[in-house]
Structure formats: structure tokens, C-alpha cells
């Protein structure tokens, strides 16, 4: 009880800190210099209809590489823990027939949707992460439906590694062929509003999507505990 | 020439010391209502030891102990200006001032202690520890008193201190700096091995203390030293506090003054000795560090503040 009271007290103080900002907050009426550059110059510079995607993939591409890395690290850690604690899970109850059938019906559709989302990331809301997450949800559904099903882990690792590696290579391509690391202007901007436009952005987003999908899937798989884990060495 | 003077000084002092010992023996006896030994008994004792034939030796340090001892005693005597103004009796006083004399006193003590130690007799060591312990405390008021009079006279040269006290009895340190004199005379008691500070020699009463193991010529040499050492010390006190002994027109008068002064200073310890019972060592250490030391400190303060 004292603990709760103390928590309330502390949070009240924290609240005053946050509200000290809110009390002087004024909603902007126009874009600031940076964001207005993004809105007004981006179509010419990069040619992506979705300005957010342009910011995410190119202007702040390093952040994106970073977040992919974070997911990668998370999945590696999950893999590591799995590897260290393998053979520690018990068999689970199988899903119902209805669930199994429904899941296998939905599985390709979800994958397709996920792919759509990241391929069109530069044109409409959505992108690599969203698409990747959708793809992972497909796998998750399958696993939930068939808890005891053995799913190969290596495939996801391969996808993850290849797409991550390609992402880095594309970044280097920007460095070598265009203005800087992760510059998407390696390819021509193409026609504004088309799928094949905005230079490397859709390409990058495809790999991001694959990578995120693979990463989240492998996390899910690892937590599920029925994969064979990584290659192990013993002294 | 100095060497001859020095040897003569030592020889005269030995004789004087022996006589003094005889007299003191008498005093002690009479106080205890005994008749006492013959007054020349010390002569007999010392000669007997010198000519004893049998002799044993515990080792080199044992052998050298008496040599150190006598070197120490004799050294003080010849470094001291015994009679002020007489080159005859101040043969090597040009070698050093009062500090030299004060420090040289320890040479004999140390040699003696080491010699006794090598005999392996525990009483020797016990007596030395007691003696050293008591000496440290007794010297403290003396140091204070000497600092006081050195400040007073602004010299460490015994000759000059004596010189400063000439002219009138009232020029004696006794009167010009009574506190220092009292402190020093109390310290004097501690170094004369008499009651109440003679527990040092207590082991002697079982056999005979540090010289426990000494006999024959070794003992003779120690006894010889024992006759001159207190006299030398007394002379120092006379020089520092009682106007010294200046060379008079006649040598006889000089000697009479010398005799009287040293005798009474010496007797001070004897009189106290016959009157007071003995302290334990720790008691005497504390005693010296209280009243006498306080007097010494006062003496310094008085001199320094010019009061």
C-alpha cells in the first residue's frame, strides 16, 4: 500500500514535468523548415508519394537500418536463449480442425497482403515494417493452429540474413553510386505515384519487409520452442 | 702535558672519592646507631680486589665492560673543568661543552650494562632495565634545569657558567635561578643510586646487581670508577649551580672550598637517602615527571619571560 502511495506520489511529480511542457505547448500552424523540405522537395528529390516513407527509408535511412538491426538483435538473443535452453519444452495440445483449416486457408492470403503492403510502402500508408509484421502474423497463426508442428528455422535465418545483407549493400550502393550511404537515388526516380518509382525506396522496403517478417517469425518460432535452433558446437 | 694533568686529576679524585666513601659509610652507620667500618675501609676493599689472583671471564664484552665503564667515568672527569681557572684541573675541557659531558656519562653506563649482560646473569639485565628506566625520568628535570640556566647564561661552556657565578655568593645559580637548582638537585638524587631511588640496585641485595658476575680486577676497576663517577657528577653540579670552584690564591683554600662544596652536594643525596624509604621504579619514574619536571618547566618559563 505504501508502495502504491509512493508510486502515485512519484508519478504525480513526473506528471508535473510532462505537463510543464504541455502547459506551454502550442500546436504548430505550419511545418517547420525540415518537414516542409520533406513535403515540398521530396517529390522532386526522391519521387516517393508517401513522404513518411521517404523520410523513413532515405532521409533517415540510418534509423531504419538501426531498427532492423534492433529486431535482428532481438531475434538473435531469442535464438541464443533457445540454443542455451533447448529440449526444455513439453508437447502442447493441438489446435482444433477448424482452426487448422482456417489458418492454412488464410496463410497465403496474409502473406500476399503483407507483400502488398511493403511493395506499396512508398505510395500509400504502410511499408516494410507493417508488411513484415503482417507476414509474421501469418506464421504465428499457423503455429497457434498447429502447436506441435515442426517449422524449419533455417529458412527464416537465410531470408533475414540475405535481406539484411542486401540492405547494407544497397546502402553502400548509394554511397558509391549516388550522394551518400543509403541514398536511394541510385535508380532513377521514375514516374511519380507508380510502383516502380522513387529510386531504391521500394527495393529497400522489400528487403526490409522480408527481413522484418523473417525476424519476427523467427522470434515467434523461437518462443514457440519447437525449432531446431542454431547450429551448435560443443567443446 | 695535558695527559699528565689528566692522570693526576683522576688519581686525586680517586683518593678523594675513597675518603668520601669512608665518611659516608660512617654517616650511614651512625644514623643507624652503629659504629661502622673504619674510614679507610674503601682503600682496603679496592686494593684487595686489584690484587686478587683468581679471575673468570665470560667473554669479550664482559671483559670490556669495566673498561668502558672506567673510560666513561674518567672521561667526564677530564672533560670537566674541575677547578675553574686552573689548567691543571681542566685538562681536556676544551674538547667540548656541557652537552659533551652530559652525553659522555652514558658511555660508561652502556659499557657496564653490556658487560653485565654478557655474563648471562638475569639480575644484571634486571638491574639495567630498572636503572635505565629510572635514569630517563630523572634526566628530564635535569634537562629542563640545564636549558633554563643555559638560557640564563647564554652559553653551554661550563667554564663560562662558572665565570658568571663569580664575585658573590648571590651570583650562584642557586640564588639567581633557584627553581632550576631545585629541579636539578631533585634529579641529582635519581642518579646517585641512593634511597629512595636505589631500587635499581635491589638485585644487588640478592647477590650484587649489574656487577653480579664481576670479581677481582674487573670489580676493582668498577669500584674505582664508582669512587670517581659520583664525584665527577657532583663537580658538575657544583659548577652549574653552586658557583663552581675557582682557583684561589692558595691551593689549600681552593681545595677546602672544593671539598666543602662537593661534600655538601654529595651529602645531600646521602641525607635524603638515609631519611626516605625506597620507591619502586614506576613510582620513581612518575615522581620525577611530576614535581621536579614541573619545577624545571617553571624555571624555563621564568628565564624566558625574564621574571
Amino acid at each position: 500500500m505504501i508502495k502504491k502511495a509512493l508510486a502515485v506520489l512519484l508519478l504525480a511529480q513526473l506528471c508535473t514535468i510532462l505537463f510543464s511542457f504541455l502547459s506551454v505547448y502550442q500546436e504548430p500552424t505550419s511545418l517547420n523548415a525540415v518537414s516542409s523540405h520533406y513535403i515540398h522537395n521530396e517529390p522532386k528529390e526522391l519521387g516517393a508519394a508517401n513522404a513518411v516513407t521517404a523520410v523513413v527509408v532515405t532521409y533517415r535511412g540510418l534509423d531504419t537500418l538501426g531498427e532492423v538491426t534492433i529486431l535482428f538483435a532481438a531475434s538473435v538473443v531469442v535464438g541464443l536463449l533457445m540454443f542455451l535452453h533447448k529440449n526444455e519444452s513439453a508437447p502442447r495440445r493441438d489446435g482444433s480442425e477448424l482452426l487448422k483449416t482456417g489458418a492454412s486457408l488464410l496463410f497465403p492470403l496474409i502473406l500476399l497482403f503483407g507483400a502488398y503492403v511493403f511493395i506499396n510502402g512508398h505510395l500509400s500508408p504502410g511499408g516494410g515494417f507493417q508488411g513484415g509484421a503482417i507476414i509474421a502474423s501469418a506464421l504465428m497463426l499457423t503455429i497457434l493452429a498447429n502447436p506441435n508442428r515442426h517449422v524449419g528455422h533455417g529458412f527464416f535465418w537465410a531470408i533475414e540474413s540475405i535481406s539484411g545483407f542486401v540492405f547494407v549493400l544497397l546502402g553502400i550502393a548509394g554511397l558509391v553510386l549516388a550522394g551518400g550511404f543509403l541514398d536511394s537515388r541510385v535508380l532513377p526516380p521514375g514516374t511519380f505515384g507508380h510502383v516502380a518509382s522513387a529510386g531504391l525506396i521500394p527495393v529497400i522496403y522489400i528487403f526490409v519487409g522480408l527481413k522484418v517478417g523473417a525476424e519476427l517469425s523467427s522470434v515467434v518460432l523461437s518462443l514457440h520452442g519447437k525449432s531446431e535452433g542454431g547450429v551448435q558446437h560443443h567443446d | 702535558m695535558n695527559i699528565v694533568y689528566a692522570v693526576a686529576t683522576i688519581f686525586i679524585t680517586i683518593n678523594y672519592g675513597l675518603v668520601l666513601q669512608g665518611i659516608i659509610g660512617k654517616v650511614y652507620a651512625r644514623v643507624a646507631t652503629r659504629i661502622g667500618l673504619r674510614i679507610y675501609q674503601p682503600y682496603i676493599n679496592i686494593i684487595r680486589q686489584w690484587v686478587t689472583r683468581t679471575s673468570i671471564n665470560h667473554g669479550i664484552m664482559y671483559y670490556l665492560g669495566p673498561v668502558f665503564r672506567f673510560t666513561g667515568g674518567g672521561g667526564i672527569l677530564i672533560f670537566l673543568p674541575v677547578i675553574y681557572g686552573a689548567p691543571f684541573f681542566s685538562s681536556f675541557s676544551s674538547a667540548g661543552d656541557m652537552l659533551l659531558i652530559m652525553y659522555f656519562m652514558f658511555l660508561g653506563t652502556l659499557g657496564m650494562a653490556l658487560g653485565g649482560g654478557e655474563s648471562g646473569h638475569p639480575y644484571a639485565a634486571i638491574a639495567v632495565t630498572r636503572g635505565l628506566a629510572q635514569t630517563t625520568a630523572a634526566e628530564f628535570p635535569l634537562i629542563l634545569a640545564i636549558f633554563s640556566i643555559v638560557t640564563q647564561y647564554q652559553t653551554l661552556d661550563v667554564n663560562q657558567i662558572v665565570a658568571a657565578q663569580q664575585g658573590s655568593v648571590l651570583n650562584w645559580t642557586l640564588f639567581t635561578n633557584p627553581l632550576a637548582t631545585i629541579a636539578a638537585m631533585l634529579a641529582f638524587l635519581g642518579s646517585m643510586m641512593r634511597s629512595p631511588f636505589d631500587v635499581v640496585l635491589a638485585p644487588q641485595e640478592i647477590p650484587i646487581g649489574p656487577p653480579t658476575e664481576y670479581q677481582s680486577q674487573f670489580l676493582a676497576m668498577l669500584m674505582t670508577n664508582r669512587t670517581i663517577f659520583p664525584v665527577a657528577k657532583t663537580i658538575l653540579y657544583v659548577n652549574l649551580f653552586f658557583g663552581g670552584v675557582a682557583l684561589q690564591d692558595s691551593w689549600l683554600l681552593t681545595f677546602v672550598i672544593f671539598f666543602l662544596k662537593t661534600f655538601f652536594v654529595y651529602m645531600w643525596s646521602v641525607f635524603v637517602g638515609v631519611s626516605f624509604p625506597r620507591f619502586r621504579v614506576d613510582q620513581s619514574v612518575r615522581w620525577f615527571l611530576k614535581a621536579p619536571a614541573a619545577l624545571g618547566v617553571l624555571a624555563i618559563i621564568f628565564v624566558q619571560t625574564g621574571m
Binding site: F21, G79, I162, G230 | A95, L110, A125, T129, A133
Partner: protein, 1046 residues
């Protein structure tokens, strides 16, 4: 130049590609890992070299082909280059280290290591606020993964707490970032910094604060760092190393960026937090017994120090600030990494169990290097950084900062050196073995060598002082290289080197320095002779010894305060190791080290204030301080500092143990020679500053009392010892008390007395310690009551002791008297009678212990066990004989050394000099003719001896028990040898002098600190939720603190 962005690209590319190489096997994984890290190290090394040599200019690297603030940009300047090099190298070495130590190998660990490295490089290089956040998250997650390398529950718990705390702070940081974006319209750090007008600072305060506090918590400040400690404790040591060297470094730089961006808004706050962390962590660490957790405490305290120092540097605009911070940073990184790697080799949880390190004895070298570097001792970069820092702070009069930094460092030294003591002295269980592989050794030694190697460039960059003379240091390093040689050969080489270096020094140095140079050089040569009695190669002895003597010679040669202090510390370190070699010297060596270090810090502060006042670092201009308001303070600090070395009363408690427990040939060095360094320092101080008053109190007058009481207490305690070496050790306390007293008289005679005493004390104390050393060597005991009657077995030693105790006691005709005579003249001249009387009193007390020494060892009854004892070995006797020759020469011709010393003193104190007529010395009070005294003594002695010999040359030698013993003969020597509690009556009378006031005082301080540590560390409950509570509370409290909201 390779584009810096490759630092990130290489790491990530390799990490991703490892996924494809999952089945390629362990060798391949590590090959990829090490190659990538090596490439990254090479890239950053290339940039660092280029930038520091000026062949390339700092680069701003935009990404995506757009300039900031439109896109994220990276920066590669000097700092970035250096820091990336540092983190890449440490990650590389740690990865190398891991090869053999990780039990269950998988591809995941190399992957995480690479991701972690990319995070570190990103944090350092990026100039974008949000990007910084992303990289911090990358680092955190990779780190959290690396923590669970073994996957045990402790690691899981620690990892969870870590990620929980991280999630909380990163959330707050995100809010801060978006607030700041709103306020400034940019995410670029430089753009934000430029945009932040005072009004905007007020409006956007909450945002800036949240970013700041987020990064601050990432640095794990006290007391919100429980989660960090758990990480350090549970993580694999190689991971601990990269956390300490890599993560802490990168996060610190992130902190610096944020703090600069916020434009002085939080400097005071970070100073407070840094100071609290530094001191708090060091204090709490006192109670820590687990090695890795201790390293965690130490790391966090060092990070606190760096935050404090960095903020101070910015706040006060300290000129050489970057250098100071980088010096401390690089030292901390490599030292801590080395310690973690060592911990990985040792694999012992408790620091008490580190004794096993001695199975691979060479590991003690990097261990010691790392610890000393952490404490900031020479020749490591941290030493120079600390020096520059204190100089600057003192110049700016930042007293509190100086006190905190030095005080905290002292506490840090306590636990670090205690640890070293355990490792050096404790013995491991016999069945345990320590296995080491090349992959483990390489990082450890690379770390050690880097620390040494970086010291040199660091020393050149000092803004205040010219480079220190490196010659001596170079030789010290050389002695490390020749450790494999046999002891005898090393002995010859070192002696030759000292002679070769010392001789020209003696002939050229001049002034009062020549006296001390003589003691140090001749002393070194003489006291090294017993070293020939050692077999084997005596590992570690010669480097320590050379360090000590190089230090001693170095302080003589020093012309500037920095080189003086450099060699002063080097001497302390060397002597500490020498003392530590003794059998039971662990606690004593530690207390020696701590007192010395405390003293050294006072000296450092004093030099700092002196520099601040005079803007000069020359030792010659130290006297200019005398006319400034800081004169008294400088004098006081220097005096106390040097008095720790002379072991004046109150600061003496280290000495008896240290000197008594040292090895037989070390005791004479530390007691006879090393103590004189303190006298040298005091003399130097007094010459420069003279009489100074604090209020109405004359410092010299106070010191005279300290000296007198030291003499009294030292001598009294010496008389009460049963242990011969302790007796001699206490005797040194007393003797140095005399010297201090003499110096404090501030007169010609006082100084002459002190200096001649220093010379003479050197001779007889070396003789005595060597003699006793020889006896202990033969008898295997130091207790005097177990000895006795050795005069016949060891006549030469006896003779040596006899001569030296006569010299020590000051009895004429030997040389000690000269000093006494001069001293009393000085006292009377000065009029400080009471102190003088105490000095005199203690002089007589000296007889007590001297007699005890010679009697209970050599005289009395020989024990049955010692009937076959031989004379001490020749290497012990030879130096004694040489020194006896010296004593006898000085005794018979005292004017040959007193008069020249008098000439030297005249330069500073011309009044009241002695007049010499041949051997006759005259002061205005008295006179003394040493030669005549000698002749009289010899004449009398010869005459008496002749007389006695003629009379009883037939005296019959008798056996041991042939004594008058209550009409019987004693049966056992033990019952007859009067030795134990020798001065019992004296103890009854003056026992109060034994009351260990100083010991109780210092024990009280240590007890208090330990109790405080025990109390404070209850904060670290181990409950992750409590830690979160603390974090939220910390945020709130700091906010209120910053806004005066309480």
C-alpha cells in the same frame, strides 16, 4: 581514407552475413567476427592517426546524399576517431578473449558482438538526436543479449533488470526527443544547439531535461545503478570488459553531446550527479568482496568521475580539458578491460581467492598495471590527466572539486590495492590449477602495454609542464624486460645502472640535493649487496626496486613540480611492491600505500595551488607562493604530505608494520633510505616557504611539537616491542621526529642538525636492519625473547650493532653526537625549550630500546636451538662493514661532513652558522672538538684496557651457565634469559603513551566508511522493480533539484 560510415556498415554486414554462415562452424564465425573488428579498428586507427597528425581534416559525413538537418549525418573528428578506435580495439580484444572462454559456442555471440560494435560506433559518430537514440537501443539490446551468454538464472535476472531499466529511460528519452523536436524544429544536434535561444530553452526545458536525464541514467549514476552492477557481476568477463571499455565510453560521449547541445543548461546538475556517483560508488565498493561486482562499482565510480570532470572542464572552460577527459577515459577503458579479462582467466568469484593468480605469476604485471593506472599513478595517461586537472582546478580555486576527486580516488585505492594484496599474498588451494591460453593472454598484455604506451604521448600534451625526464622510467621498463634473468645478474645490472647514473649526478647536482642524492645513490648500492644472497630470479623484485630508486633519484633531479610528483609517486609504488613482498606484510603494505597516496594527494593539491598562484611549475619558483594568500595552505599541505613519508606521529601507524614485515634486505632500504625522501621534501618546502602562519599559529611551531612528540612516542614504543624489526621501525619514527623537529626550528643549526642526522641515521639504521635481517635469516624469528647469547655465534654482527647503537644514541665519541650537539645548540638558540626537553627525554628513552636490542639478542643466555647458528651470510655483512667504516670515519673526523653541510645550509640560513677551526666547532653557545674527544676516548680506553689486561690476562673463560645463581646453576637458558616485557616498570609508569590514538582515529574513519558502505548498499535490493522505483524517483528528484522545487 575509408569512409567512416564503413565502421557501421562492416559490423552490420558481417553480422547479417553470419546468419548465412550459421553452419560454417565456430572457426569461421570467429574469423568473420575478428576480421570485421580488425577492419573497423584499422579504419578508426587510420582516421585517428590522420586527424592527430593533421594529414586529414575532420569529416562531416551526410547520409543519403543530403546535408543535415535534412538527413542524418555522422561526424569523424579527433574525438570520434579516438573513441571509435578505443571501443573497436576493446571489442576486438574481448572477442579474441572469448574464443577460449565461452563454454557453449554458437553463432549468436559473434553476431551480437558485431551488432554491439556497430551500436557503439554509431553512438559515437552520429550527430542526430533520434539516431543517437536508435544506436543506444541497438547497443542496449545487443548488450542485454551478451549478458546472458551462459543463460543461467543470474544472467537472465540481470539482463531483464537491465532491459527493464533501459526501456523506462528510453521511453522518457523519446518523449524528450519529440518535445525538443517540437521546440527547435530539428533533430540534428548541432542545429538544435544553435537554435536554442534562452527563451526556447525555457519553453523546451522539459524535453531537454528528459533527454539529459535519460542519457544520464544510461551512465548508471549513483544510486540508480543497481541494474548496472548486476550486469557487471553476472556477465561474462569479456562482456564486462566491453561494457566497461566500450559501452561506458560511447555512452559518455553521447552524454557529452547532449550536454553540449543543451548549452550549459545541465552542467551543474551533472557535476553534482558525477561527484555523488564517484564518491558514493567508491565508498560502497569498500564492502564488496566479489571481484566482478567490485569491478562494476569501480567502473561506475569512474564513469561518475568522468561525468564530473567533463562537466567541470566545460563549466570552467579548462584549456586542456579534452585531454584530461580523454586521458582518464582511455585509462579507465583499458585498465578496466584488462581487469575483466584477468577475471575471466582467474575465474574466482571472491577477491580473497585471487591468490591463484600466482600460478601464472606473470599475470601479476598486467594486474598491477591496470590497478595502478586506475588509481592514476605514473606513468599512465590518467596520471597526467589528473595532474592537469588538479592544476586547472586549483588555479580556478575549486576546492570542493579537488577535495572530492582526491578523496574519492583515495577510497578507490583502498579497495583496489586491498584486492592486489589478496592476489599477491593469498595462497590458492593446492588442487586448483589455472589454465591460460594465448587468446586470453594477448588481450591482457595488450591492455597493459597500451596503458604504459599511452602514458608517453599523454605526458607530452601537458599544458602546464614540460615533459618529464623519461630516462629513469625507461630503465624501469627495461627491468621488466629482463625479468627472466637470474637475480644475481639482475642485481649487478641494476647496481651498475645506478652507479652509472648516480655518479655524474653526485658530482653535478650541488646544493642541498647532493646530500640526499648521496644517501639515495650510495644507499642503493650498499643495500643492494645483500641481494646477492638470493637464489632464483626473484620475480618482481627488481622492477619494484628500480622503480623506488628511480623515483628517489627522480625527485632529486626534478626541476618542475610535475616531474617531482611523477617520480614521487613512482617511488611510492615501487616501495609499496617491495614492502608487499614481506611474508606478513599484506595489511601493512596497504596502509603504507594509502598513507603515501593520501600524502601524495596533499602534495598534488599544494602544487596545484602553487601553480594557480604563480602560474609556474618550476620547483625553484615555489618560493613565490610565499607572498600569496595560499602560502600557509601550500605549506601545510606539503608538510603533511611529506610527513606521511617521514611517519610523523599521527601519520606513523603504517610504518612499524611496513618496515618490520618487509624482507630482510628491503627493510634497510625503506627505513634507512626511503624515509629521507620525506625529509628532502620537507626541507624543500621549508626552503621555499619559510615561516608561515595560519591565523596566529606558526606552522613550524606546530611541526616542532609534532616532531618532538613523534620522537617521544616513537622511542617509547620502540622500547616496548618484542619484535626486533618493529623495534627498529619505531626507532625510525622517533629519529624522523628529531629530523622534523630540527627542520622546524628554521635556523641554521636546526637544519644542520636535521641534515647530519639524516646522513647518520642512514648509516646506522641500514646497519641495524641488515644486522637484524641477517639474524632473522639465520634464526627464522624476529622475537627478541627467542634470541639471546648470540655474541659468540655472530661476533661481527654484534660489533656492527654495537657501533651503530652507540652512534644512534648519540654517545660520544661516535658520529651521532655531532648531530645532537648541533641540535641542542639550535634548540637553545631558538628557545623552544619544552619541545627540546621532550626531544632530550626521548633521546634518553632511546637507550632503553637500544640496550634491549643488543642485550636480548646478543647477550644473556644462548638458546639450545641456536647452538649451531652460523654468522650471517657475507652479502649481509659486507654492507655493514662498509657502513661501519663510514661511521668510524665520520666519527673520527666529524668536521669533514658537518662543515660542508653547514656550507650548504648557509645558502638558505646564513645566520648562526658554526665556526670551524680545524675540527673544533664553535657555536655562539658552546664548542666541541670531535677529534679531540675521539683521542681522549681512545687514550683512556687503551690505558684502561692495558691496565686490566696486565692485571688479569690469565682470567679463565667459563661456560654459559657458570654464574652465581642462588647457589646453583640455571638449567635452561629460557628461564634465565631476561627478555620478555623488558621494561615492565616503565610500562606501568608511562603506559598511557601506548594508547593507539592515531590507530583508533584512522580505524574509526575506515570503520565509519565501511559501515556507511554496508548501509548504503542496501539500496541495491536486487529487485528490479525497486530499481525502477529508484529511477523514477531519481528523475523526479533531479528535476526538483534543478528547479529548486523542494
Amino acid at each position: 581514407m575509408v569512409e567512416p560510415v564503413y565502421l557501421i556498415v562492416v559490423a552490420l554486414g558481417a553480422a547479417f552475413s553470419l546468419g548465412l554462415l550459421r553452419k560454417a562452424g565456430f572457426v569461421m564465425h570467429h574469423l568473420v567476427l575478428l576480421l570485421s573488428l580488425a577492419t573497423m579498428t584499422a579504419i578508426s586507427a587510420q582516421w585517428t592517426v590522420g586527424l592527430f597528425t593533421g594529414s586529414v581534416s575532420p569529416a562531416a559525413i551526410p547520409t543519403a546524399g543530403f546535408s543535415p538537418p535534412i538527413s542524418i549525418n555522422l561526424q569523424m573528428g579527433k574525438t570520434e576517431g579516438f573513441l571509435t578506435l578505443l571501443v573497436n580495439l576493446s571489442v576486438f580484444l574481448s572477442s579474441l578473449f572469448m574464443i577460449k572462454t565461452v563454454k557453449r559456442r554458437s553463432v549468436y555471440v559473434p553476431m551480437l558482438m558485431l551488432v554491439f560494435a556497430s551500436g557503439l560506433n554509431g553512438i559515437i559518430m552520429t550527430r542526430d538526436l533520434f539516431n543517437l537514440f536508435v544506436f543506444i537501443e541497438i547497443m542496449s539490446i545487443a548488450l542485454a543479449g551478451l549478458i546472458v551468454l551462459n543463460g543461467d538464472i543470474q544472467q537472465l535476472g540481470a539482463g531483464f533488470k537491465y532491459i527493464l531499466a533501459g526501456a523506462l529511460t528510453s521511453g522518457l528519452m523519446l518523449i524528450g526527443i519529440i518535445f525538443t523536436y517540437h521546440t527547435t524544429g530539428s533533430l540534428n544536434i548541432d542545429t538544435i544547439a544553435n537554435a536554442l535561444t534562452p527563451e526556447l530553452k525555457a519553453v523546451g526545458y522539459a524535453g531537454l531535461f528528459l533527454i539529459f536525464i535519460g542519457v544520464l541514467i544510461e551512465l548508471k549514476p549513483f544510486p540508480v545503478n543497481g541494474f548496472g552492477l548486476d550486469v557487471y557481476e553476472s556477465a561474462h568477463p569479456a562482456v564486462g570488459a566491453v561494457v566497461s571499455a566500450g559501452a561506458a565510453t560511447a555512452t559518455l560521449y553521447a552524454f557529452a553531446k547532449i550536454a553540449i547541445m543543451s548549452g550549459d543548461l545541465f552542467l551543474e546538475l551533472s557535476m553534482v550527479v558525477g561527484a555523488v556517483t564517484f564518491v558514493g560508488m567508491n565508498v560502497v565498493a569498500l564492502q564488496q568482496k566479489i571481484a566482478n561486482r567490485l569491478l562494476g562499482y569501480s567502473s561506475l565510480s569512474q564513469v561518475g568521475l568522468l561525468v564530473l570532470v567533463w562537466s567541470l572542464v566545460k563549466w570552467q572552460n579548462i584549456a586542456n580539458g579534452d585531454l584530461i577527459v580523454l586521458g582518464l577515459l582511455v585509462t579507465h577503458a583499458f585498465a578496466k578491460a584488462t581487469l575483466f579479462w584477468l577475471s575471466g582467466i582467474i575465474q574466482k568469484e571472491k577477491i580473497e581467492d585471487w591468490g591463484i593468480i600466482k600460478q601464472r605469476i606473470y599475470l601479476l604485471f598486467p594486474f598491477a598495471i591496470a590497478l595502478l593506472a586506475l588509481i592514476g599513478l605514473p606513468p599512465f595517461p590518467s596520471f597526467f590527466a589528473k595532474w592537469e586537472l588538479i592544476m586547472a582546478l586549483a588555479a580556478n580555486q575549486s576546492h570542493l572539486a579537488i577535495a572530492l576527486i582526491l578523496g574519492g580516488s583515495l577510497v578507490e585505492a583502498v579497495y583496489l590495492m586491498r584486492w592486489f594484496g589478496h592476489a599477491f599474498k593469498n595462497t590458492a588451494a593446492e588442487d586448483e590449477t589455472l589454465s591460460v591460453s594465448f587468446c586470453q593472454l594477448l588481450p591482457v598484455f595488450a591492455g597493459g602495454l597500451l596503458l604504459i604506451g599511452l602514458g608517453y604521448p599523454a605526458s607530452l600534451l601537458s599544458a602546464t609542464a614540460s615533459p618529464i625526464p623519461w630516462m629513469l622510467t625507461a630503465f624501469v621498463l627495461f627491468t621488466f624486460a629482463m625479468e627472466f634473468l637470474p637475480a644475481k645478474i639482475k642485481n649487478i645490472i641494476v647496481m651498475a645502472a645506478i652507479a652509472w647514473y648516480g655518479y655524474p649526478l653526485l658530482t653535478t647536482i650541488g646544493g642541498y640535493r647532493v646530500i640526499f642524492a648521496g644517501i639515495f645513490v650510495i644507499g642503493a648500492l650498499v643495500t643492494m649487496i645483500p641481494g646477492f644472497s638470493h637464489k632464483g630470479n626473484r620475480l618482481g623484485f627488481y622492477p619494484s626496486l628500480t622503480m623506488m630508486f628511480a623515483g628517489l633519484i627522480g625527485i632529486i633531479e626534478a626541476k618542475e613540480t610535475m616531474s617531482f610528483f611523477f617520480y614521487w609517486e613512482m617511488m611510492t609504488v615501487g616501495s609499496y611492491f617491495l614492502i608487499l613482498r614481506g611474508k606478513n606484510s599484506k595489511p601493512h603494505a596497504l596502509s603504507y600505500f594509502l598513507f603515501s597516496l593520501g600524502g601524495a594527494y596533499l602534495i598534488l593539491a599544494a602544487f596545484g595551488y602553487s601553480f594557480g598562484q604563480t602560474t609556474s611549475v618550476s620547483l625553484d619558483t615555489l618560493s613565490q607562493v610565499a607572498s600569496t594568500p595560499y602560502a600557509a595552505l601550500v605549506m601545510l599541505f606539503l608538510s603533511i604530505g611529506f610527513m606521511t613519508k617521514t611517519a610523523s606521529v599521527g601519520l606513523h601507524i603504517w610504518l612499524p608494520g611496513a618496515h618490520a614485515e618487509a624482507e630482510s634486505d628491503v627493510s634497510p632500504m625503506v627505513s634507512g633510505i626511503l624515509l629521507k625522501a620525506g625529509i628532502f621534501g620537507l626541507l624543500m618546502t621549508f626552503i621555499a616557504l619559510g615561516d608561515q602562519k595560519i591565523g596566529f599559529v606558526d606552522i613550524a611551531y606546530v611541526l616542532s611539537w609534532v616532531g618532538a612528540i613523534s620522537a617521544l612516542v616513537g622511542n617509547y614504543l620502540a622500547a616496548m616491542q618484542e619484535d626486533a624489526k618493529r623495534l627498529l621501525a619505531y626507532s625510525s619514527v622517533g629519529q624522523m621526529g628529531y629530523a622534523l623537529f630540527g627542520l622546524s626550528l628554521m635556523s641554521h643549526l636546526g637544519w644542520l642538525g636535521a641534515l647530519s642526522l639524516s646522513v647518520i641515521h642512514f648509516t646506522y639504521k641500514v646497519i641495524l636492519f641488515l644486522a637484524v635481517g641477517g639474524i632473522v635469516y639465520r634464526l627464522k624469528t624476529k622475537n627478541m625473547y627467542e634470541m639471546g647469547g648470540l655474541i659468540r655465534k655472530m661476533p661481527i654482527t654484534f660489533f656492527a650493532v654495537l657501533v651503530s647503537i652507540i652512534a644512534l644514541s648519540g654517545i660520544p665519541p661516535l658520529a651521532g653526537f655531532g648531530g645532537r650537539w648541533v641540535a641542542y645548540n639550535a634548540v637553545i638558540e631558538k628557545g623552544w625549550m619544552l619541545q627540546g626537553a621532550i626531544i632530550g627525554f626521548s633521546g634518553i628513552i632511546a637507550f632503553l630500546y637500544l640496550f634491549r636490542l643488543i642485550h636480548t639478542i646478543f647477550l644473556g643466555q644462548l638458546k639450545d636451538a641456536h647452538r649451531k647458528v652460523k654468522e650471517a651470510p657475507l652479502p649481509f655483512l659486507l654492507p655493514q662493514m662498509l657502513l661501519i667504516g663510514l661511521v668510524m670515519f665520520l666519527s673520527s673526523r666529524p668536521h669533514t661532513f658537518l662543515a660542508p653541510i653547514g656550507e650548504i645550509v648557509k645558502e638558505f640560513k646564513p645566520d648562526g652558522a658554526l665556526t670551524w677551526t680545524g675540527p673544533l666547532a664553535q657555536s655562539h653557545l658552546g664548542y666541541w672538538d670531535g677529534v679531540m674527544v675521539m683521542w681522549v676516548f681512545m687514550g683512556l680506553f687503551a690505558a684502561n684496557f692495558a691496565l686490566l689486561f696486565i692485571m688479569n690476562r690469565r682470567a679463565q673463560p667459563v661456560k654459559q651457565f657458570n654464574i652465581v645463581y642462588a647457589a646453583e646453576r640455571p638449567a635452561r637458558p629460557e628461564t634465565t634469559h631476561f627478555a620478555y616485557n623488558f621494561f615492565a616498570p616503565y610500562r606501568r609508569a608511562l603506559g598511557f603513551l601506548e594508547y593507539p590514538l592515531a590507530t583508533h582515529f584512522f580505524d574509526g574513519i575506515t570503520d565509519f566508511l565501511h559501515a556507511a558502505a554496508g548501509f548504503i548498499r542496501r539500496l541495491y535490493t536486487g529487485n528490479g522493480q525497486t530499481y525502477l522505483f529508484q529511477i523514477v524517483a531519481f528523475v523526479v528528484v533531479v528535476f526538483l533539484l534543478a528547479n529548486g522545487g523542494f
